[in-house]
Symmetry: C2
Subunit: 213 residues, 2 copies
DNA sequence: GTTAGCATGTAAGGAGTTACATGATTTT
DNA sequence: AAAATCATGTAACTCCTTACATGCTAAC
């Protein structure tokens, strides 16, 4: 149904599911989740929101106005919104919620995993246990492949590589090994975890636990 | 002069400086250096080579033929090369070598650093000591910033983050810290290193040390 | 002589960036 | 009322990928 398959869409859906937000605020949260060194540009975000709006995954939230601006008092009518350019608060539509659940299970085309894994993990609180396990173990086995590939590649080329290239490879290998250990820990923790599933169907009530103090 | 600024160009120049190669072989080496999980696609490589050829950074090496095909015996004339589509071996032009040295010093627009740093490191064998230090220390200080940012972000948001998001942030932070320590080690090693500079001007002779047995 | 793998290429498109442009609100 | 910051948006561009298409060489 929806065309855009990037990480952004998933991340936006997941964040808006927690709480409605406007783009500017959204970006800050996205930067944390996406974990790219750099910050997400508005040139990426707004077109994405626009398209998600067009496809019907999100809507403008009319009873918003300025409610979640920290400094603002509540003595204002919902918002001016006359001469254009007010703050626009977005929220998920039912289709958006459904699509989010689909994407959570997908994990996407494997080549994107480096990009998507972190985002998937960030939303594990909304994800069923079996899906969590599938994603964690899938990720681990792909990293194990990569690790083994790197290992043999280093062995094969040990002699003809100069010092620096070798160090680079070595460090890369170590990073992957570390990541594998981390995943193994996560998987173990997951095994020990009580088998309560997220109640995710028709979440009319916010399903507290994430709401601000 | 040259328009293409991507990592690819730098990597190709660096590899071809060691030894002339054809695209297919080049790609294997590039995959090791670039350190992306995935493999570089021909759809990226060949257009890049084409453009570099057009700009005059590289040329086809006429006395190539099949020389560096492992299985092939040396009893062949330089190569058929009549009805098109033979193996094409590329080598650097003098301009290519010059441009390579420029790029080595540049380190590029800081936002690309995540992408370029590894490649720069891989070619440290061709890089002057002061430039090496500049790149290493620059990289470290940018990672330190990122680390501090992440640290305070976690502190500020500790309460309102759910378990998984927090774990993700924590792991990200640890990775950056680890990378900083690694860089510090590299820098220390660099300090202890005898101050011999690479002889890099007009390298008529292959400047042995990297050549195969 | 046909399959398998080496080798080169192109066209279309996805995903994000930079640079720009503008409006609204808060602080000084 | 000027400056800073919050907030939204667009156009042009970059870099890389996928999917396709083709030819050459070795092995069976």
């Amino acid at each position: 149904m929806a065309t855009r398959t990037g990480v952004l869409e998933l991340a936006v859906l997941g964040l808006l599911r927690d709480t409605p937000m406007h783009g500017y605020e959204l970006r800050k949260r996205l930067n944390a989740i996406l974990g790219w060194g750099r910050t997400l540009s508005y040139g990426s975000l707004y077109p994405c929101l626009k398209q998600m709006l067009a496809v019907g995954l999100i809507t403008e939230d009319p009873l918003a106005g300025g409610a979640n601006v920290p400094g603002a008092a509540a003595d204002r009518v919902p918002v001016t919104r006359a001469g254009r350019r007010g703050k626009i608060v977005y929220k998920l539509t039912p289709e958006g919620k459904e699509h989010f659940q689909e994407l959570l299970g997908d994990a996407g085309p494997a080549s994107w995993e480096d990009e998507t894994f972190g985002v998937h993990l960030a939303f594990f609180g909304q994800t069923d246990r079996d899906v969590r396990m599938r994603i964690l173990e899938g990720r681990r086995s792909r990293l194990e492949e990569r690790r083994d590939g790197a290992k043999t590649a280093i062995q094969r080329a040990r002699e003809r590589l100069d010092e620096y290239t070798l160090e680079l490879q070595r460090h890369g290998l170590e990073s992957v090994e570390r990541e594998v250990r981390w995943l193994t820990e996560l998987i173990d923790t997951e095994h020990k975890r009580p088998a309560v599933d997220v109640e995710r169907r028709a979440p009319e009530e916010p399903a507290g636990g994430l709401s601000p103090p």
